[in-house]
């Protein structure tokens, strides 16, 4: 039963965190380069601009769901299972989602990197 709970949590984490990642990445691309904005307009302007982006809050909600699922998962499974397993699946989900929803050009170099990392994370969970 502990394992079933842990894997249930892992499934929810993957879904929620890739949704959150895509929404947050989309939001921050709309906000623009934070470092530049920080130098030109100051911290308050950066915060105001981020808070004025509605998709940012949707991303936060998805991340909050992922976070509480992580707490849930960590209370049932080992740190060395829950974190790598959910991370590995999130990598693949994110690469696909970034290509479809964010129109990022996921070239050969990035696919190799994503699969090396995801594979590495799977081996670490073994």
């Amino acid at each position: 039963m502990r394992d079933a709970y842990a894997w249930l949590a892992i499934g929810v984490i993957v879904l929620a965190s890739s949704t959150g990642d895509v929404l947050l990445s989309y939001s921050m691309k709309r906000v623009g380069d934070v470092h530049e904005l920080l130098e030109r307009r100051g911290l308050l302007a950066v915060i105001a601009r981020v808070l004025a982006t509605p998709t940012f809050f949707l991303g936060l909600v998805a991340m909050a769901v992922a976070f509480y699922s992580l707490l849930f998962g960590l209370s049932w499974g080992n740190l060395s299972l829950v974190v790598p397993a959910s991370a590995s699946l999130t990598f693949v989900a994110n690469a696909v989602a970034a290509r479809i929803f964010l129109h990022e050009r996921v070239g050969r170099r990035r696919w190799i990197a994503a699969f090396l990392v995801a594979g590495g994370v799977v081996l670490m969970a073994a």
Partner: protein, 143 residues
């Protein structure tokens, strides 16, 4: 990529596993949470280890947001994945979990993946086309 941007990526790499480790420590003290006692999930936030973990994860979040403002998601994620190697090392030396040869191989693969993506551009042309006014970043992606 400037030194400052590499420091932000390093921040993401370190804050996230350190936060996870503190959370794990706190949640082990709290004990197993099931669907029958969900209220203890909310109370868990007041455990000092969990609270410390949350603070670190907030620092992670700020660095992560910053990085996503000037780099692709598919760049930021692999580039900061050394964090999982850190999780394993913390699990090994902090929690005395064993690291098998397979797991060491996993660590090697992740490290190779990080090298692959870090050597490429941080922002792909899709965003340059969307934001042609944004010169400093798009010039950097070309280099």
């Amino acid at each position: 990529m400037t030194l400052r941007k590499y420091l932000v990526l390093a921040g993401i790499t370190v804050f996230s596993p350190a936060g996870d480790a503190l959370l794990a420590r706190g949640m082990k003290e709290t004990g197993g949470i099931s669907l029958h006692n969900l209220h203890s999930l909310i109370l868990a936030v007041f455990n000092p280890w969990v609270a410390g973990g949350i603070l670190l994860l907030l620092a992670f979040f700020a660095s992560y947001m910053s990085a996503l403002s000037w780099a692709d998601l598919t760049y930021v994620l692999p580039a900061t994945s050394l964090g999982y190697v850190l999780v394993a090392l913390i699990a090994r030396f902090g929690f005395h979990e064993t690291i098998s040869p397979t797991r060491w191989l996993g660590i090697a693969l992740i490290t190779a993946g990080v090298g692959f993506v870090a050597a490429g551009p941080s922002l792909t042309p899709a965003h340059q086309l969307q934001r042609p006014h944004h010169d400093p970043v798009s010039q950097e992606a070309k280099s």
